[in-house]
């Protein structure tokens, strides 16, 4: 299954603005997603923004990337224009509804 538009955007952004190559950029974002309990194929732009603010800075810092805060803020700003596209209903959306009265 293809990865989501939000994931692709964050990876491309890192690749173009840092010394990380494609593989390293995608690997770094995947590690951040794993820590957040999210999956590349289904992550939304809103979720990616939270990861970019709360987890990605530490991951990038540990790889010696400079200007991490500005970089992550630019990812968050760019994600505003990323459409989530058609996604199937997630398991958590179903289980949230199953608890409804």
């Amino acid at each position: 299954m293809a990865d989501s538009a939000a994931f692709e955007f964050a990876c491309s952004h890192l690749e173009s603005r840092t010394s990380l190559d494609r593989l390293a950029a995608r690997g770094t974002v995947r590690i951040a997603l794993k820590q957040a309990g999210l999956e590349a194929r289904s992550i939304t732009a809103e979720q990616m923004a939270v990861v970019a603010q709360k987890i990605l800075p530490t991951e990038l810092g540990s790889r010696g990337i400079d200007g991490v805060d500005e970089l992550c803020q630019s990812i968050v700003a760019g994600l505003r224009s990323v459409a989530n596209g058609p996604v199937s209903e997630t398991p958590d959306a179903v289980f949230k509804r199953l608890g409804g009265a």
Binding site: A36, G37, L38, A49, V50, K54, P91, V94, F95, R97
Partner: protein, 256 residues
């Protein structure tokens, strides 16, 4: 009636009551939302706990006439086959709707369950000695092994998803109550697995199904299964508060 037989009977009554209540609740929800998952799991719970189990209890009663035993056993087999097929569909559609192996597992499981159920119903009406209906059979063994596969799959998927959501909670990306519901559904699967394991052992060994050990396992797993099912889908307000109050607090500064 021994204490262990009473425990097993209590667990059966608890499972019938809670399962049917949750089934009705989810069917009513499905009527409003038109959602497939709630329709599938609501109907399955209603069939398994509200129809199949009572039929099995009727068939195992003392002094029951032969036509009633045959009808109850046949209908129970069909109901269980359809009910477990619905749970196969639910697990596939909710957790892995676009993955080939999940589709193969679900459709294979449904085929096996429906075939075993049809064979069980045929046996119920054609076996010469109705008293032998409670003895082990290939159709009964296959039906139960299919259900065990389903319970393991459901538990693995639910616990995996609970683990994902627990990592999202501190980020403010998941509801602690929903994460808890995945865990409870996983435990429902595991206790369901435990409650039918004595029947599988009996089917394999041809031994006595009415041993104290069997009653103990069925009783404990049946009651535990009912409790977790209740807290998953009919949680009291106090339990909801407890789960939310004990969840990690999301850090500030999230989203756009």
């Amino acid at each position: 009636m021994s204490a262990l037989e009473f425990l097993a009977l209590t667990s059966a009554v608890a499972f019938v009551t809670v399962g049917a209540a949750v089934g009705v609740k989810l069917m009513l929800l499905a009527r409003r939302t038109k959602g497939l998952p709630e329709r599938l799991i609501g109907a399955s719970l209603l069939l398994l706990s509200g129809v199949a189990w009572p039929l099995l209890l009727v068939a195992s009663g003392k002094g029951v006439s032969e036509p009633v035993i045959r009808s109850a056993m046949g209908a129970a087999a069909l109901t269980m086959g359809v009910g477990w097929s619905g749970v196969f569909l639910f697990t596939w559609q909710v957790f892995r709707p676009s993955e080939g192996w999940a589709r193969a597992l679900a459709l294979g499981g449904i085929t096996v369950e429906l075939a075993a159920a049809a064979a069980g119903a045929f046996r119920a009406f054609t076996l010469e000695d109705a008293g032998a209906l409670r003895s082990p059979s290939v159709s009964g063994l296959v039906l139960l092994l299919g259900a065990q596969t389903l319970y393991v799959w459901t538990a693995v998927e639910s616990f995996r998803y609970r683990a994902l959501l627990r990592r999202r909670i501190p980020l403010g990306l998941a509801d602690p109550l929903v994460a808890d519901r995945f865990g409870k559904w996983g435990w429902t699967g595991l206790f369901g697995l435990g409650s039918i394991t004595p029947a599988v052992v009996t089917q394999f060994t041809g031994g006595d199904a009415n041993t104290p050990a069997h009653h103990l396992v069925v009783g404990v797993c049946g009651i535990a299964s009912s409790v977790v099912l209740y807290f998953a889908f009919l949680p009291p307000a106090a339990y909801v508060r407890f789960v939310r109050q004990n969840a990690p607090i999301p850090a500030p500064g999230d989203g756009f």
